[in-house]
């Protein structure tokens, strides 16, 4: 009953000043629209840039590095325990790059509840033979299915099909940068040379473009079996185990555990790509700051209009108080007005924000380094809409709070006697 009455009075006051009300509501609409569009666009861009690296990067990578033995024979001697050791003659061995007992490690990882998937990899440094010169390169021997599932490999293959790699023996998917230098087409044969001088012919099955030019000039993909053949190693020869987790934030802790458990090097994504996290968090912060500034400006608009309304409606407030409306009721009336402006303007803003971001999402955006992206990326994250809605209510409430308090403190005697 009371709420209905207060709403009725608020609506009457609102409609009495319809133009002003609409201007105030439009201020909120505009700021929410821009807030949503800005954050969706920024969010989309951030995701795109992060995915450029993060999609291709395992959460934890197990590998062996060419390192000298940590314990030199002299250290084992009791006789020289207190002396400085400068006799370090045991050099790194050749087969150290191989992860030993890889089948068992992969099996153990697949049973780990934190792990979403495991993709083994064999990396071979090679030279592409182009006429008289050799270009340095790296062939990654991969498990095609797992690579597709975990690292969206197929998205980056711009010509040819990833399944061909499985079906055609001795095939290679070349990095597009390398392919351009070598002037090859799909179906051509190329020659490569390994670091120990073995030559090997490979058939070009497709081109690969990651968006990072330095990678595209160097990297190529073949199956695990092909790379093992190039190296003349057994099918158990694996140099990297790439792990994707369900929760990326666990990566540093798990990397440490795997390091001690499997006796390999283990690097987590946070350590390997610290700069990307920083970049996107700063960008996100800037867009929030701009969006919230817009909202605060809209709040001042509401504050102004409510203040004006209170001056205009001084008589009405006085008579409402004289006929038994308490300060609280008057306060509620003006807060209702402010919130109505906020809610209507905010709701319209959310819709227009969705529209504007969808519109931005239609603008063509072609860049040679991002083959999968055709239009501007938009992140339709419901979180932005929630924040927009909550902030529009909070700012309009605050903008309404002070004028409402002033209205509730109006002394009817002052107004009525003043006439």
């Amino acid at each position: 009953m009371k709420i209905k009455l207060i709403t009725r009075i608020s609506v009457a006051l609102l409609t009495a000043r319809l133009k002003q009300t609409m201007v105030a509501a439009f201020g909120v609409t505009f700021s929410i629209t821009m807030f949503i569009a800005l954050l969706s666009f920024m969010g989309g861009l951030n995701k795109l840039l992060d995915n450029l690296i993060l999609n291709r990067t395992p959460h934890v990578r197990l590998y062996n590095e060419v390192l000298p033995s940590l314990t030199q024979p002299i250290a084992k001697s009791d006789e020289y325990a207190d002396n400085y050791h400068f006799v370090r003659h045991i050099k790194p061995k050749n087969e150290l790059l191989e992860i030993r007992n890889s089948a068992a490690i992969i099996n153990a990882l697949k049973n780990d509840p934190n792990v979403r998937g495991v993709a083994p990899k064999t990396t071979v440094p090679i030279f592409y033979n182009v006429g008289a010169i050799n270009l340095t390169g790296v062939i990654n021997g991969i498990d095609v299915d797992e690579e597709n599932r975990l690292f969206t490999f197929q998205d980056y293959v711009v010509q040819g099909k990833t399944t061909d790699l499985k079906n055609i023996p001795n095939g290679i998917i070349l990095g597009i940068g390398a392919a351009k230098k070598m002037l090859v087409q799909i179906g051509d044969n190329i020659q490569i040379t390994t670091s120990d001088g073995t030559r090997f012919p490979l058939k070009v099955l497709g081109f690969f473009q990651s968006g990072v030019e330095e990678i595209d000039k160097v990297q190529s993909y073949a199956t695990l079996a092909t790379t093992q053949k190039i190296l003349g190693k057994s099918p158990s020869y694996i140099t990297d185990i790439q792990i994707k987790l369900f929760d990326m934030t666990l990566a540093p802790a798990l990397a440490k555990r795997y390091h001690t458990l499997f006796e390999t090097e283990a690097i987590d994504i946070q350590t390997a790509n610290a700069q990307f996290e920083t970049g996107s968090s700063v960008r996100t912060m800037i867009s929030y700051a701009v969006g919230i500034t817009l909202l605060i400006v809209a709040g001042f608009g509401i504050y102004n209009i409510l203040n004006m309304m209170i001056y205009e409606k001084m008589d009405s407030i006085a008579i409402l108080k004289a006929t038994g409306f308490s300060g609280k009721d008057v306060n509620a009336i003006f807060i209702t007005i402010a919130l109505t402006i906020g809610l209507l303007g905010g709701a319209l803003g959310l819709i227009l924000g969705l529209g504007l971001s969808a519109l931005i999402g239609q603008i063509p955006f072609n860049t040679p380094s991002l083959p999968t992206v055709k239009t501007y990326p938009i992140d339709y994250n419901p979180k932005f809409y929630l924040i927009g809605a909550v902030f529009s209510i909070i700012t309009t409430y605050l903008a309404g709070y002070f004028p409402s308090r002033k209205a509730s403190k109006i002394d009817p005697v002052d107004i009525i006697r003043g006439k």
Partner: protein, 234 residues
Amino acid sequence: MEKKVIEAIGISKSFHNPITVKVLTDVSFSIHAGEFVSVVGKSGCGKSTLLYILSTMDTNYEGELLLDGISMNHKKDAELAKVRNEKIGFVFQFHYLLNEFNNLQNVTLPGLKFGKLTTQEVEHNAYEKLKILGIENEAMKYPNQLSGGQKQRVAIARALVNEPLIIMGDEPTGNLDKKNSDMVFDIFKELAEEYHQSLLIVTHDLDFAAKTHRTITMEDGRIISVGLPQNEVN
């Protein structure tokens, strides 16, 4: 003896801006149910100030005020608002109708705030009050479509809608011409005599005052005469 609807006991008030001026000194009187009382006095004698204290809108005074036998001292703002809503009807010099609402809605507002009756019942009551005042045909019009006298009648209907203990008027005829003031006076008289409504009207119109049941005369913040009920004079 009828029961007292309002009793003021030793009410004093001073303004302190910038120097202390005493506007009311030890004002005591009472009004009984069904009485039609006027307060007269020269401009600045404190009669309006007294009315606002009696109406509970001004709480900054010394002394005691009893409304319907209940002390109004030490009541909170919200409680006083409730008292004004339920027990006091106001008529001011200016009509103070809300232009956003039509006349009927203006009359119903205090009734809806009271919240004792349903919206339909309040509207029915409001319509009845307008009928008593002879302006039921204007119910659906808006205040700015009415003449001054009609607006004042709507304001009186608004004062009546909650069937208050007392109607207070601050120069209710001050803005009206002779014809309209006579009409407003007749309405008050009718309310007092037919509906047994208590009224307390502040006025500087001595003709108006002379026709009421009793006239309280003030000078320099004091009551110099509480008057005698007219039937005893005659």
